[in-house]
């Protein structure tokens, strides 16, 4: 008995086909752009943990932004106006005398009294992979499907 190749192919296609979405701009990138921080801040600048999630953005900085700006988790474009408003009001969530936005811009944690590291450790050993030609996703998908079908066909013989 041979594997039902058509249903398998259909399921694979459904798994891989909707490959249209690239990563959309998200909150860390939006905060970095708006506040001018040296790195995209970690999720924990707003959320309880790096897992994020609705209802977990309870850090003082997040609460201050939410109070001033009408934030929507799915709309990072709302971050910039909220940052501007924080800056205008010189909000200082941790009460250390330096405003939240100034702290973020300096790479400091606005939730922690004092300087606090916002960017965290560096990862990797310093070397880089030379950027190469951009991979064509559709060509790649096609090659994978062709390879799989060849393997299946070869095995049937």
């Amino acid at each position: 008995m041979t594997p039902p190749l058509k249903p398998i192919g259909l399921v694979i296609a459904l798994t891989l086909a909707p490959t249209v979405a690239a990563a959309s701009p998200n909150y860390p990138d939006a905060v970095q752009a708006a506040a001018g921080s040296p790195c995209p801040p970690p999720c924990t600048v707003c959320h309880e943990s790096s897992s994020g999630g609705y209802g977990t953005a309870v850090k003082p900085f997040a609460r201050a932004m939410a109070k001033i700006g009408k934030l929507d988790a799915e709309d990072p474009a709302l971050v910039a106006p909220a940052i501007e408003a924080l800056k205008a009001q010189a909000t200082d969530s941790d009460g250390d005398g330096t405003g939240d936005v100034a702290e973020v811009a300096a790479g400091h944690d606005p939730n922690r009294h004092g300087e606090g590291d916002l960017c965290g450790p560096e990862y990797g050993c310093g070397a880089r992979i030379e950027p190469g030609q951009r991979v064509d996703g559709w060509a790649l998908l096609l090659s994978v499907l062709v390879a799989l079908s060849l393997v299946a066909r070869g095995r049937r013989r």
Partner: protein, 439 residues
Amino acid sequence: MGLFFRAAPFVLVLSTLALTTRSAHAYGFMIRHGYGGCTTCHTDPSGGETLTRYGRAQSDLVLRMRYGTATVSAAPAPATESFDGFDDFGDSPKAEKPPAPAPAPEAEDAAGPASSSGFLWGAFAEPDFMALGGSLRSASTLKNGDFRWFPMQADLYGQLAFGSLRVGGSVGLVKTRAGAPHGRAALVTRGDDGQLNMVSRTHWLGLDLDSRRELLLRAGRLNVPFGLRISEHVMWVREATHTDRESDQQHGVALAYSGEKLRGELMAIAGNYQLSPDRYRERGYSLYLEAFASSSLALGASHLFTVAQADRYSLDQGETLRGAHGLFTRWSPLRPLVVMAEANALHLSRRDLGYVGFVQLDYELTQGLHLGATGEALDAGRVRGAGSDQSKSPGAGEPRLGGWLTASWFFLPHCDLRVDAIARQNEAFTLLSQLHVFL
């Protein structure tokens, strides 16, 4: 033409390695077949990644769907009068592990493993001292109506064994971004945000300390020995204890024992030397011990304790003590059903005590097709200290609950599809699908 078909897997490999990436398999539910231990099927004494030849054969015989050919997995388990130990080989002579069965040519129509069970579907026969493998995993998520696809993992891994000396490790490619909770800790290269980078999740030197290969001493970057070694690196029980096989490995020295009715591993953690500065590196130890009460029931305990000068997750700049202590079990009351559970107490500097746990049911509907249900709970503890919000929230002072419904289909040799419906408190419903190919 035969050469062309044999070359097809290479096309697949090379094509997909051009991609980006994240981690792999270790199936605790294999206890339903009497495989409680890991060393018969994996080169890592605690499971995961590189398969032994015997493991490859078992993957072909009892894991994947065989479409009516010598299906053995969902058949009723033979009654066993006695329990021989961790890796009960059924009809095999007691206390003697069967030799790794060589993949037989044209075995598809016979009862043995197919020739395609070998590395690269049998296209390359490794010499005896070598075990090679790899994982390519593509994933897509549907969340809030937003469909995304991303390459999750593109790793090659293996082991060389020269007498009692072993060398093992993995290399792969990954695209990750600043602030991402996964992937970065295993980076070797340091490219720009979103650029292709090289990862090495494990790399180690090992020495078998006895002739039965029950004691293995290793040094290098290793999976942290703690709890159930499951493939779901985003499951809270792995995330909250920072013990997944995705990128939570640490450098250090570990001693593993793989006995017949007891197994365990103790690791002295020297820190993750793929991140800097040093103040973020955690040092301490981690261990687990698992005992078999019967051929279908394993009970274990884990303990982890580390110290760092700063917390790399919260970025708190102060001495950070982290601990996790818990129990876990694997139980197969009926051959098609496996129950896995783990519960841990958590403690972390500047947080109240917390806990994390999960219960997972895996039901093998027919060989190669699994249905699963998982419930998980997390309370990482409320944050304490000046400047912190003192209120409780789900997951931080209050329990946060989650549930997974899973379907896995091992549809062809080396290939499986998995779909998870994930509902978690304070998180949008997520439909996650994965296509996994192992080499």
